[in-house]
């Protein structure tokens, strides 16, 4: 992995600490070393407006702001609208995926997922690493 990719700032958002830890470990394993965490959409948005990020990996079902609301807010914000955004969620109905896609999600992973799936979606969104 190139240093440029290793240094990418990634924000992972999930209200389950276990899931944050799983994603963090998987990202560390492939070489990413600049990872922050948030437990809901509101705190994620605060982080996104505080420092620059290169990628968001977010759950959907969270309070007080869901992942979809976070995505829509990001896409409506001129300074954030191009930020790559991957949804990682247990919501696995077609209407969920369609709604996320219409809102501008770059990729969608359904839980439970494995390392290979996360890796392939990361490649699809940020390129080879």
């Amino acid at each position: 992995m190139t240093d440029e990719k290793k240094d990418m700032s990634i924000l992972i958002v999930d209200d389950y600490k276990t899931m944050l830890r799983i994603i963090q470990n998987l990202l560390n394993e492939v070489g990413f070393r600049n990872i922050d965490e948030a437990t809901d959409g509101v705190t994620a948005l605060e982080s996104l407006r505080t420092r620059p990020y290169d990628l968001v990996i977010s759950d959907w079902n969270m309070e007080p702001m869901t992942g979809l609301e976070l995505l829509k807010t990001v896409r409506a914000d001129n300074s954030l609208k191009k930020l790559p955004f991957i949804m990682v969620t247990a919501e696995a109905k077609t209407e969920n995926v369609v709604a996320a896609k219409q809102a501008g999600v770059n990729n969608y992973i359904v839980k439970p997922f494995n390392a290979a799936t996360l890796r392939s979606k990361l490649t699809a969104v940020i390129g080879e690493f």
Binding site: L68, A92, K93, V97
Partner: protein
């Protein structure tokens, strides 16, 4: 002056009311035999506690397993103590997996409660008879995007990762 026809009608009405009163007494007796308060205070309360314990146990086990995995993956493989680190952490993982036995028993207990509730509801429906009309007041108060939130799909309900990927091709 009371006519014979009026008297007969009054008697018929009296008998109807009497029959109705008997039915109500019988229904109350049968509902009582279902012991709804015991079901609520004992069985359902216990099932809720069991569910809380299941959540706690699975979380603790996940944390223990991840702690051990992290210790092994971050250990120096050239360290002479490395085999011991692996052995110790493997043992911790095996121990943590014992949660499955306990949570399995707790889930079994919750299933028993649900079976009990199911049979009570069945008895209640029998008691109410075939002409009983249900009032459908189950309303989903959610609006907009909130209506998309349904949690994990059951087997065969959701779409697969492959199908999702096709939507992004």
């Amino acid at each position: 002056m009371e006519t014979s026809a009026t008297k007969t009608a009054a008697e018929a009405l009296y008998n109807e009311v009497l029959e109705l009163a008997r039915s109500i007494v019988e229904a109350r007796k049968q509902i009582g035999s279902l012991r709804p308060s015991k079901l609520k205070t004992k069985s359902i309360s216990k099932a809720l506690l069991e569910m809380e314990e299941i959540v706690k146990a699975t979380e603790e086990a996940s944390n223990t397993i991840m702690d051990s995995a992290e210790q092994m993956s971050s250990a120096d493989t050239t360290d002479p103590g490395y085999p011991d680190i692996v052995q110790t952490n493997c043992s911790k993982i095996f121990e943590a997996c014992a949660f499955q036995d306990l949570t399995g028993q707790r889930i079994g207990s919750v299933i028993q409660t649900l079976d009990l509730v199911d049979s009570h509801l069945e008895s209640l429906l029998e008691l109410l008879g075939p002409d009983f009309e249900e009032v459908d007041d189950e309303k989903d108060d959610r609006e907009g995007d909130d209506m998309l939130l349904n949690g994990p799909a059951l087997e065969g309900e959701g779409i697969s990762q492959d199908d999702i990927d096709k939507l992004f091709d």
